[in-house]
Symmetry: C2
Subunit: 160 residues, 2 copies
């Protein structure tokens, strides 16, 4: 089992996230879904832009990837998330049958910004839900932390 992250995929998630800054589209979160070393979809959080509390980066990426592949079943895909997914997104990843999550910063870093995140780490949720998904954490963590800080310094950054 190869658990070495391809950092370029995380950088694509970061890059997509930054594209949402000017319009204050949502929180500072990006995601990238990959299959067979090819990017299937990238997305960022659009909760504010879309007036949709479910429009997290991972949910948006899963919905895009499902349209690209024409199925709800994303077996064989992996997901990169700039921050570890919240339980909504983690469970969506389960339903999509994605078997590996690469993540950057931790939920605590986002709670510190003022987001109403649940105090549930991926490790804690994985244990509760008896999941076998692979967790690869701290991928490009410094760049992901910089992403959070750049967003927080941005005009009109709104938490929810």
């Amino acid at each position: 089992m190869n658990l070495i992250a391809n950092e370029e995929f995380m950088r694509k998630a970061i890059e997509d996230c930054r594209a949402g800054f000017p319009g204050n589209e949502g929180g500072p979160f990006g995601a990238c879904i990959v299959k067979d070393n090819q990017i299937i979809a990238t997305a960022h959080n659009t909760v504010m832009k879309d007036h949709d509390p479910t429009a997290h980066a991972e949910i948006n990426a899963i919905r895009k990837a499902s349209q690209v592949l024409g199925t709800y079943d994303l077996s064989g895909c992996e997901i990169y998330s700039t921050t570890e997914p919240c339980p909504m997104c983690f469970t969506a990843i389960h339903w999509a049958r994605i078997a590996r999550i690469y993540s950057g910063t931790k939920i605590e870093a986002v709670r510190a910004l003022g987001f109403n995140e649940l105090p549930v780490s991926n490790a804690a949720f994985k244990a509760l839900a008896e999941l076998s998904v692979d967790l690869v954490e701290n991928v490009l963590e410094e760049e992901c932390q910089q992403l959070l800080e750049d967003w927080a310094a941005h005009t009109n950054a709104a938490t929810y």
Copy 2:
């Protein structure tokens, strides 16, 4: 605090769910979102129809209600779910700031049908996530169980 369910709202969730049977749109799950005793949105699971693993009844209902109200913030709303929400939907309810969940059947009843549900009850998730949302369970449980059975007897009922 009034914790008496308005059973008619659960019946609307059941009715919406049944509308998805003929097209095999998704699993046998319906939801209804209410504010000030008025229905804001009803929805059912459309995972198969939409090729979208996130298209559970509660997610669909939250997305509809957010469009109706023009905000991600559904404070003051309550949700009726024919089966207790999975952790994806439960967390979406948290993000939407919905403070009360009325549910019918339990996740175990759906696992018995063959769905890949996580073994996480609403009570267990509420405890892990330190949530204060009100849970009103076993609302019209017999009618919700009948809904599951009618769906399972339907031609081409597909689990996932």
